[in-house]
Amino acid sequence: MRSTTELDARAGLERLRTYPFQVLTWVGPDGYPVSVAVEAAVDPATGSARFAAPTGLAVPTDREVSLTGSHIRPQPGYGYDERRHVTVWGRVAAADGTLTLAADHAWGWDEAEVPFFEYSERSLPQSRKYFDALSRERGTPVRPKLSFGFLTLRATRLPFLTATIVPVLLGILIAASDGAFDLLTAVLTVVGASFVQLAINVSNDVFDTAQGADDANVTPTQFSGGSRVIQYGLVTFRQMATLATVFFVAAAAVGLVLLALRGSPALLAIGIVGFVVGLGYTAPPLKLVYRGLGEIAVAVGFGPLMLLGAYVVQTGGSLSWEPFVASIPIAVLIALVLYVNEIPDRRGDARAGKRTLPVRFSREAVVTGYRVATIAAYGALVLGVVAGLLPIPALLMLLTVPLALRVERGLRPNYDNPYGLMSVMGVNIRLHLYAGLLLVAAYALVLVAEAVAPGVPLFLGR
C-alpha cells in the first residue's frame, strides 16, 4: 500500500517551491522549536533551498532543520478547502548571510491528490495504535465510541433494508391481488426477511474482515466498503460475529414460525436456498462474491427468493409465473446496486482476492454491462406486460428510466474517483427503490381497481 505522506527530497522540493513563503523550523538550544517565515529559492534539480538567514536568530548547522509550506483556502461561513502542506528536512550551510538547505527527505499531504476520506482510512493503524496505548496506560480497554443509534445504523447498514422491503412488499401485494392475504404472516415475513438481510450484512463484514478485504480497502464510501465498525474499533470482531449469529437465529426462528403457520415444500425450499446463498455470499467455502458470483447471488436472493418467499407464505405454497416475472427487474436492479458499489472497492477487493466483476473486467466492459443489464430489467418488465403476466400499471416502473440513464452517464467520468462516484451510487440505489415502489404502487392500483371496478381489464390478453 503506498504511503500518503512520505516523499523523497526532490518531490518534496517540487511541492515546496509552489508556496510563496516557507516556515523554517529548528530546535533551539533550550529544546524548544523555533519557527520563522522565509522566502526560499527552491531548486529541486540541485536538491536545495536557499534563503536569507533570519535576523537575530541563530539557525543551527549541526542538526536537521525543516522548511514547511502550507496552504488552505478559507471559505467564509463554512470553513476551508484546498488543504495541502509539505515539509522538507535537511541540514543548512551558512555563507555570506545566506543559508542553503540540502534536502534529505520530506513528507506532505495534498487533498487534491489523496482525498481526506482516503487519507483518514490510510491512517486507521495510527488510531488503533493510539487507543491501544491509552488502554495499556489505563489498564482497561479504551475504544472509539458512537451513540447506540448511530452504531446500530452503521453496524447493520440498516438503510439498505430497502433491498428486502421492496421485494417482500411486492410479493405480498401480488398474492393479495390473487386473493390471498393474511396480515399476521405478512408482518412476520417482513420481519423475518429483514433479519435475513441484517444477518447477511453483518456476516458480510465478519467474513470480509476475516479474509482481509475490508482492511485492504482504503477508499470506502457511504455505500461501499462495508460498515467498517470492526476496522474502526467501534465493535470487536467477536461482537460482530455474535450479532450475525443472533440475526441468523432470529431469521431462522421467524422462518420456522412461518413454516408452522403456512408451511409448504416451496417455502421450505426457498428458506434453505436463501440460507445457503445468504451465508455463502461471503462465507467459506462458497464465498460467492469472491468468485465473481456476488451479483447473481444478490439477484437471486433479493429478487425471486424474497419475492416468491413472501408470495408463497400468503398463498400457502402455490406458485405462479406472475411473481417470478415481477421479480426479474427487481433482481437485476438490486444486483446492479452491488455491481456499481463494487467499482470503488475494486482495488482493495483485488488485493484481498475478491474477484468481483469490476475486478475482472475493464471499465468499458463494466459500463457496457450496466447498460445491458438495465435494458434487460426494463425489457423483462415490458415483455411481462405484453405477455399478460404483469398488470399494465406495472409500466409505471418505466418512469425510472431517466435515473438509469443518469447512473450510466455518471459511471465513466467517476470510475476512478470513489468520492465522485458516491452520488452515482446514491442514484443507483434510488433507482432500485423507486422502481420497486412503483411496482408496489402498480399492484396497489390493481387491488383498488379490482375492489371498485371489477372486470376492468388490467392485464393484456385477459
Binding site: 516556515v23 519557527s35 495510527q126 472509539p144
Partner: protein, 159 residues
C-alpha cells in the same frame, strides 16, 4: 498565565491555521498545520486519533512551538511564534474536546454539521486536546525575517 501581547492574541483569535511544531525522539522538528483555538487564557489545538503521532511526540517531549499568521483574516502580515509546553488532554477522546467546539465553530462553522453526522467518519471525532502554556513569544510585525523578532516572555518564564 501572564498575558500574551495584544497583537498575538488577535492573531490567535483570527488565524484559521497555525503550524504546530513538535520534537521527535531523534530531535527532529515536525510541523503540523492545525487550527489554533484561544480561550483568552490558554492556547489549544485538537488532533484526531487518526493523526495522533504528534500526540505521542508531545507525550515524550512537551516542548512545542506554534507559528501563526493570517493576512487574509487579519489584513495584516504580522506573524508570531509561541514557544511553550504542551499537554495532551485525552481523558475522554469521544467528547472531552467538545468544550472547545464553540471556539472551533467560529473558525470552521461547518464543523457542527459534520459533528452531527459523526456516524460517517467516527474516528475523526475521537480527539485529544493539546493545551499549550506559552513561555515565550517571538513577534514579527511585518512577518518578515529580515528584522529581528520582538521577544516577550510569558508565564513562568516571565516571573
Amino acid at each position: 498565565m501572564a498575558k500574551l501581547p495584544e497583537p498575538v492574541e488577535r492573531l490567535l483569535d483570527a488565524a484559521l491555521v497555525g503550524e504546530l511544531t513538535v520534537v521527535s525522539p531523534s530531535g527532529r522538528p515536525i510541523t503540523y498545520p492545525l487550527i489554533p483555538l484561544f480561550d483568552g487564557d490558554k492556547v489549544y489545538l485538537t488532533s484526531s486519533t487518526l493523526f495522533s503521532r504528534k500526540l505521542e511526540h508531545i507525550a515524550a517531549n512537551p516542548r512545542v512551538a506554534l507559528s501563526i499568521t493570517d493576512p487574509v483574516a487579519t489584513g495584516r502580515p504580522d506573524r508570531a511564534t509561541l514557544q511553550g509546553d504542551a499537554r495532551v488532554i485525552d481523558e475522554d477522546p469521544h467528547g472531552g474536546w467538545e468544550r472547545l467546539l464553540p471556539i472551533w465553530e467560529k473558525k470552521e462553522p461547518s464543523i457542527v454539521t459534520f459533528l452531527k453526522a459523526r456516524v460517517a467518519l467516527p474516528l475523526f471525532f475521537e480527539r485529544a486536546l493539546i493545551e499549550i502554556t506559552p513561555r515565550r513569544v517571538l513577534y514579527w510585525s511585518d512577518g518578515a525575517s529580515a528584522a529581528a523578532p520582538v521577544t516577550t516572555l510569558v508565564g513562568t518564564e516571565a516571573a
